[in-house]
């Protein structure tokens, strides 16, 4: 048996599993999104476009825009917070590098619900912050709270790829920039930033994708004015029991995110090819 044949056998169990339990459900989802619910609430397959027409309904369109807006804001904030953190660890971390990165990653293994809940306890109307400061600020049920929840939830996805890019960069490049009379800002703009742009892009996509589909942050930290597409999908599949419409929302979201997914996948596949070549 040639090595190719032998190794190909190893692809079968995982490949079949992914086809059956990942690809097939997505096909079902696409199919039911053209369906409707009958009088009994049963989802019926069909070829109607009604669910997609409902997406531009004034009830739903703002929700879609809001989701994208919140997710973009979360990406921007993650970059603003995550880049300096990654930079500090990669450049000045020294022998503490691994410890610092582990410290950054650690909180992300605390359950997302618990972490979000901790913010409720801290920022609630009679929460810790208002109690300590003796103020009466309304933090929760605002867009800021929801965006903050997303940032706190997905920040590690930004820091890790940016850190990896900075860590790979040859530090003498920065010195070279300085030797050529570049100021700190110029050196950053012309040397460091271009060298880490791949990491920034990867991090942005990795934050953006889960942020758009999130419903936990908006449910727990937001009010009725902060509903995101994830909340709509969750409602359709559970409380309202309108699966075809929920499926249409999901498919539309996936279609929109596809561009970003492909962007990331192409970069990841290229990197693997280089690494395993």
């Amino acid at each position: 048996m040639t090595e190719k044949r032998f190794a190909s056998l190893f692809l079968v169990p995982g490949g079949v599993w992914l086809l059956l339990l990942f690809v097939t459900p997505l096909v079902f989802l696409l199919a039911i999104s053209f369906g409707y619910t009958d009088d009994l609430g049963e989802a019926i397959y069909s070829t109607r476009l009604g669910n997609y027409e409902r997406l531009v309904d004034p009830d739903y369109l703002p929700v879609l825009f809001r989701s994208v807006g919140f997710a973009f804001a979360a990406v921007a904030l993650c970059l603003l917070i995550g880049y300096p953190v990654a930079y500090y660890i990669a450049i000045f971390g020294g022998r503490w590098k691994n410890v610092l990165i582990a410290l950054v990653v650690l909180p992300f293994f605390v359950n997302y619900l618990i972490r979000t809940y901790a913010w409720i306890a801290m920022l609630g109307d009679d929460g810790l912050v208002n109690g300590l400061l003796n103020t009466d600020v309304r933090f929760l049920n605002t867009p800021y709270a929801v965006i903050g929840g997303l940032v706190y939830g997905f920040l590690a996805f930004m820091i890790l790829p940016v850190y990896a890019a900075l860590d790979r960069m040859d530090p003498s490049l920065i010195e070279a920039g300085k030797d050529l009379y570049g100021g700190p800002w110029q050196t950053f703009r012309h040397v460091t930033w271009p060298h880490t742009i791949q990491g920034v892009l990867a991090g942005s996509v990795l934050v953006f994708l889960p942020a758009v589909g999130d419903f936990v942050s908006a449910s727990l930290l937001g009010g009725p004015g902060e509903v995101m597409v994830g909340n709509l999908i969750q409602q359709q599949f559970q409380a309202s029991d309108n699966w075809p419409f929920g499926a249409a929302l999901t498919v539309a979201m996936m279609a929109f995110l596809m561009i970003f997914m492909l962007l990331y996948l192409r970069a990841a596949a290229r990197e693997t090819r280089e690494a395993t070549a």
Partner: protein
């Protein structure tokens, strides 16, 4: 550009000094170390850990209050463990995570080997497909899994949760194991075959032992992810027992409750134990590399 990079730079006094500085663990000269960056790190870590410290601290509070700490007590842990349904949920969560870990690790490891060594057109496509779950929002995965299970008339239960979890864990294992596999030297395998071992024997006796640290680390990562997962479980769970995160969700919706602090702290300990073990694994195997590097693979995602 590539010719410049491939040649080692001539040791100028500046680089020599920089290397010396690096060797002593100090950052090389010529770097700015703006003080504001240090301050920023302090504020960042405060922001990162304050909520978690709060949860842990108030899980030991003797009163219901989440504002002032009135004394040490374990009453919320007693409430947690005295509740039969919460105990069932904890056991359910552990079962799900364990079974997911075992099956996903096996499937993911085999897939990694196939992807690195087969290199056919099929493996190219599969490589792409394998990466898609990593970037698919969980709600899409949850909703579509729910749809599949109802279509094939599979009753929602722990089994459906496990099936959904495995599907989304395979890729993590494959990414971690593949990175390790790519670093292995092929010569040992070739030598083994020259000495008359079959391909299967070579895989079992040579390749697999070299992969163990990565395989185990990936398994522990999957355990932690599955144990913590909320969205997939939320969509695919049956009536009872429901895994802990789903119970937490229901409780939070009823308002802030001190028991949640105890459950959260307990889950935190389990996650940190499994991740800590994953990070330490390479050392246990006598390798001097960082577990973090093994876990993050080369792809950092």
């Amino acid at each position: 550009m590539s010719t410049i990079e491939s040649r080692p730079p001539a040791p100028t006094p500046a680089t020599v000094a920089a290397d010396a500085g690096r060797a002593r663990g100090r950052p090389p000269k010529g770097f700015d170390r703006p003080r504001f960056l240090k301050l920023f790190m302090g504020v960042f870590f405060l922001f990162l850990f304050a909520p978690i410290v709060l949860v842990v601290l108030f899980s030991f509070n003797s009163s219901r209050s989440l504002q002032d700490f009135q004394g040490f007590s374990t009453r919320w842990y007693e409430t947690f463990f005295d509740s039969e349904s919460l105990r069932d949920s904890l056991i359910a969560s552990l079962q799900i995570a364990l079974i997911t870990m075992v099956i996903a690790t096996i499937l993911g490891t085999l897939l990694a080997y196939g992807l690195v060594r087969a290199r056919t057109r099929v493996s190219g496509g599969l490589n792409m497909l394998m990466l898609v779950p990593l970037v698919t929002p969980e709600i899409v995965a949850g909703a579509s899994a729910l749809l599949l299970f109802t279509q094939v008339k599979l009753e929602l239960s722990l089994t459906t949760i496990i099936l959904a979890h495995i599907t989304f864990s395979i890729s993590y294992v494959t990414v971690v194991v593949r990175a390790r596999l790519a670093q292995l030297s092929r010569e040992v395998e070739d030598a083994s075959m020259d000495l008359g071992a079959t391909r299967l024997q070579t895989f079992r006796l040579i390749t697999l032992p070299a992969l163990w640290p990565a395989v185990l680390a990936a398994g522990l990562l999957v355990f932690a992810l599955s144990f913590d997962d909320f969205v997939l479980s939320f969509f695919t769970t049956g009536e009872s027992p429901q895994p802990l995160p789903v119970r937490i969700w229901t409780q939070i919706r009823f308002g802030v409750r001190p028991t949640i602090n105890a459950i959260g702290t307990f889950m935190l300990v389990i996650s940190i134990l499994s991740i800590g073990l994953a990070l330490l694994l390479p050392r246990l195997f006598g390798r001097r590399e960082s577990g973090l590097k093994v876990l993050l693979g080369r792809e950092g995602a």
